[in-house]
Symmetry: C2
Subunit: 225 residues, 2 copies
């Protein structure tokens, strides 16, 4: 086969994830590395969105990707092939989320000297990943139109912890009963500060707004105390 | 408000879920009650599929519904209003799955004397619910076209434990790169015995095949030893 790195993630031994996540965030800050935690349901278009985003940012920032999945390695391979960006696959072996220690196991397999930004694509799941701080600087999520505009009502924690909600598959909105204004209102109920960015990853429409948000966040964080 | 029953589910105290699930299955068998565990991702159309199915079976079998959700009660209300079928809401309080003891807490709030079939709509999640036997006689899942045909590769356990895979939103297949034959092949890799039923819950197309499968399973199980 080829040289794709596939890391089998081990269960964490630390009981206090919150402390561990804060420590990891501090370590990454000292190294000048911004970690983005990207979450969503299965099939919302995380990987396609990521490929589009990487194409827009890879000349401007040194970026690497960690793809978490229960079993397969299709996503890391797809990203590496499509963008040339360093991508490794994290196998969770059935575990439904990543915590800070599991994230660290992935980071240990990246060349951090050459990296400003690491994007972690978390396990496809709107429940468990929301409960575990990965040590990321920012949390982003993708909600896709076919999932429905009522998801912020049903998965409150996920929406409340995300700094940005990308709404994908806007091109098929006419075929679904998806009300963008209603969805924004529900998101605001959970999280008045969250930025909402409608996109269509398939065509690339709107992705530049997400890419710009990410570049701005990385730049602001680099100069922060 | 109205009389919708909302049950706050407590964390299980039993360590051995497998034994507990087998006990629950036996108790339900003694009472002549068939439990179906219905799982899927968020937004795959579980509730709409259920409403269509209930309309087709409610005159033929005495059925009740338990809607598990982290927080809201929109689904149980929707089902009760649309079909008149007894529906209760189970709040998991952030928990990402139901085990047998949690299922039992829901069953205790139904009028089981008047019921042949209980359908449990599990939490929207392709990971954790697959790991916990609820005590059900059969497991069903819904995969929707927009989620992609590769999901059996990424969520192997879920597909391997399901007796039937309903593929919903077939009406939008032309707008997505969804290959039904490829999807069936991936499902067979995980579970050669699984029945695959393509439907469109929005229009009702194909739902009668799922309803018939369910009626046949209930009838066969009633006369089984």
């Amino acid at each position: 086969m080829d040289d794709l790195k596939v890391i089998e993630i081990k269960k964490s031994v630390f009981a206090d994830n919150e402390t561990d996540a804060n420590n990891l965030r501090k370590e990454l800050k000292d190294k000048g590395i911004f970690l983005l935690n990207l979450m969503s349901s299965p099939g919302s278009g995380k990987t396609t969105t990521l490929i589009r985003t990487l194409d827009l940012i890879k000349e401007k920032v040194r970026v690497a990707v960690m793809e978490a999945d229960i079993d397969s390695d299709v996503d890391a391979r797809k990203i590496k092939d499509a963008t040339g960006v360093e991508s490794i696959q994290l196998h969770t072996g059935g575990m439904c989320h990543l915590d800070a220690e599991m994230t660290r196991q992935g980071l240990d397999n990246l060349d951090l000297e050459e990296t400003d930004l690491v994007i972690l694509e978390n396990v496809g799941n709107l429940v468990c990943p929301a409960e575990f701080d990965t040590g990321s600087v920012r949390n982003a999520m993708i909600l896709s139109v076919p999932e429905g505009d009522d998801k912020p009502l049903k998965y409150p924690l996920m929406f409340s912890i995300c700094d940005v909600v990308v709404i994908n598959k806007m091109d098929v909105a006419p075929y679904f009963d998806f009300d963008l204004e209603k969805c924004k209102e529900y998101i605001r109920m959970r999280n008045p500060e969250a930025k909402v960015i409608p996109i269509c990853a398939k065509t690339g429409e709107g992705v530049e707004a997400f890419a710009q948000w990410l570049l701005d966040e990385v730049a602001a964080w680099k100069v922060s105390e």
